[in-house]
Symmetry: C2
Subunit: 421 residues, 2 copies
């Protein structure tokens, strides 16, 4: 008997029938003797509908008022879920962010949680109630409503779970866990039973859109176990199975976790590459180049600078393809003349493929296997970037599926993983 | 230059284009130098949509959760209106009931306002901002969200206006004021420029659905002038005209107000009449009869008890026609046997027609004119009930339109009213 936090996404809350299913599932945990706090998202489509109204009125709506508006979606959700639980005879009570309260900074539309008060909710839990708390929102020091930004309900759930010392935070979503790679690209992709926090961070930032990256960071900071699992299974299915379902994101690096050296293949399709040729190699050059790019609000992904030859170096980085044109113009018109670079060359038909695995730390030769596998398929590597648990390559985008499939096989990811616990 | 509270109904807030029109109108007042607090309703249909979802989930949803749910409609409205005002270059800021805060008792779905804190809003007004406050809602002593019940935004607006000492509370709606009677029944019905608070109370409770009766009561308690006017006029029309438009509900009983002895003809179509014959006339008999009716949650309207003859009396009352069957069963099965009444007779084909006018107090013969007018039309009066400013009759429902038209003419209501101010 322990405390669990359940988080349900917008799709899981998308209709009256689905809300009833969420209630049945929560009731099952509660009836088994567990304490449950639920953090549901707004019904799918609702946040977009509300923000769409605002944008019809004004191109640049005030962020404070956008938060006032958008936070209503989650408020409606918690009330509906409380009603559905009460209909099953479960004593349930909903709270908004300000009622708990969940305190945040005042960065409207992208606020960060600062503290969560637990007195009132704890009383309800101890009285046997299921407590439902709005995701995605809080209040600042002046009692203005703030939101955490898109996907913020994941972060809310993890923050609530850590504030209340939950045994686990369960993220119920429309996929049944974290996969070795995207099954649409590699049909043999397998669900991981366990993945480390660091691997998950790399997977999330590389495009495995299962869990918001801020939520993973939050979980990491508080060493909170997070489980990603499907909300589409039978809500009345056996609880012991459900407690082992999906993918557990963990901080325990046991032997089993060391066995597979590569846990997954991540990829990002829509990249573009920019290179400044013959840049004078002197201190501060990287920030001189990337400063104007950041000022133009363009996110940079991979950055590679080679050893300089004859006092100059080539400096490359990638951006999202949609921001390629703007980035190119900044380089061409501002940066290159200012630093005396010889030329700007670019390619907007590239992609990024990465192998991720905590085992890489202690296993040599992983990167070599990756490069040989790609060479065997005749795929040329344009850029390489590495971290302790990830190696990424930039390649021509038409080879992406081929590369992912070849790497998935080369690292044995289509073979069964040892079952955790 | 003064402080005005504007209230806009759901229809006035019913679309992006209409919200923009509300913003244009508010901006006009603000630009003319007035301080403005706006209390908008939820977009039309929104509250029904939300409550409909709750009822799909559960037949008897918890009132606390219903309030949590329904209050989101107004919260979205205030944010959208703030955005629309900002788009016109007006500094505007929205607040929910709990942010002000508007304190209420804890009677969920029908809460009563206890206090309104003015510090924060006053600061904004003094800084030149337009302030927008959610109607219909507040918080109880435990910070639970409460709502005031259907039409509660009128009450919120009047309460806010009195808390801030507003010069006037303007209720913008889809009719342009209070009429001498329903124009659908009497095409010659005229808009009243001025109506007294007491008359408005009688008109509202008798079915002139222009303004929620609780709002009128609130205005009366604080002697706050309330103006009912149309939100469908050109929002950029001349302000001096708009400041005299619609119908002013006032507490100043000046000579002009005394002139017309009858201000309006109210009516209620769907009534049913119940009579207990030969009831033993002893103290407490009325509550013995009506107690079980109240216990069955049936609202009683007109009550008439005649002089007793030979120790027994006849006791009659009316109820809404939809509650007739239940009321009849309570009388027949519970009350009549208990008190030894001879018989229950009933008629569910009656209606109520009333003349309302503050001038009645000092003018004799008004009721006589009413009865003679009905007699001239061959209409039999079944019950009569009077108050200081109202005389009501119960008649057969097929005569309702005829009675209303005849009375409207008999009291000269189709003649122009002297213009106020």
């Amino acid at each position: 008997m322990a405390l669990y936090v359940h988080k349900y996404g917008g799709t899981s809350m998308g209709s009256v029938e689905r809300i009833k299913n969420v209630a049945r599932r929560v009731a099952k945990w509660h009836t088994a003797g567990h304490q449950v706090i639920v953090v549901p998202s707004a019904m799918s489509g609702e946040t977009n509908r509300l923000l769409g109204l605002a944008r019809e009125i004004c191109d640049q709506p005030s962020p404070r008022e956008l938060d006032m508006l958008a936070s209503t979606g989650e408020q409606a959700s918690v009330a509906l879920l409380a009603i559905a639980l009460q209909d099953l005879g479960i004593d349930a009570r909903s709270y908004t962010g300000w009622q708990v309260p969940v305190r945040t900074d005042n960065a409207y539309t992208k606020a960060r949680i600062e503290s969560i008060e637990d007195t009132r909710v704890r009383q309800d839990l101890n009285a046997g109630k299921v407590v439902i708390i709005t995701g995605f929102q809080g209040i600042d020091a002046d009692n203005n409503i703030t939101t955490l930004g898109r996907g913020g309900s994941d972060t809310s759930a993890v923050a609530v779970a850590s504030a209340f010392g939950a045994a686990e935070c369960l993220i119920y979503t429309d996929v049944d866990g974290v996969y070795t790679t995207d099954p649409r690209v590699v049909p043999e992709a397998r669900r991981l039973n366990v993945v480390s926090f660091e691997e998950m961070l790399e997977m999330a930032s590389l495009g495995s859109k299962v869990l918001q990256i801020r939520a993973v960071e939050f979980a990491g900071r508080y060493r909170l176990p997070v489980r990603v699992l499907s909300s589409l299974t039978d809500p009345l299915g056996p609880l012991p199975d459900e407690m082992r379902a999906g993918t557990l994101i963990t901080f325990e690096e046991d032997e089993k976790m060391e066995t597979p050296t590569v846990s997954g293949i991540a990829f990002s399709r829509d990249e573009a590459k920019l290179t400044l040729l013959a840049v004078p190699d002197k201190p501060g050059i990287a920030s001189t180049i990337l400063g104007p790019i950041a000022d133009a609000n363009i996110d940079v992904d991979v950055i590679v600078q080679n050893q300089s030859v004859a006092g100059t170096t080539d400096f490359s980085f990638t951006v999202q393809r949609t921001e390629f044109q703007r980035a190119f113009e900044v380089l061409q018109n501002e940066v290159a003349p200012a630093i005396g670079a010889k030329e700007v060359i670019s390619d907007d038909k590239v992609c990024k493929v990465s192998i991720v695995g905590i085992g890489m730390r202690s296993h040599v030769g992983i990167a070599a296997t990756m490069f040989r596998t790609l060479a065997d398929e005749g795929i040329n590597i344009q850029m390489i970037s590495t971290s302790e648990i990830k190696t990424s390559v930039i390649i021509q985008d038409k080879y992406m599926e081929l590369a992912v499939r070849a790497l998935h096989k080369a690292f044995g990811l289509d073979q069964p993983q040892p079952v955790a616990e």
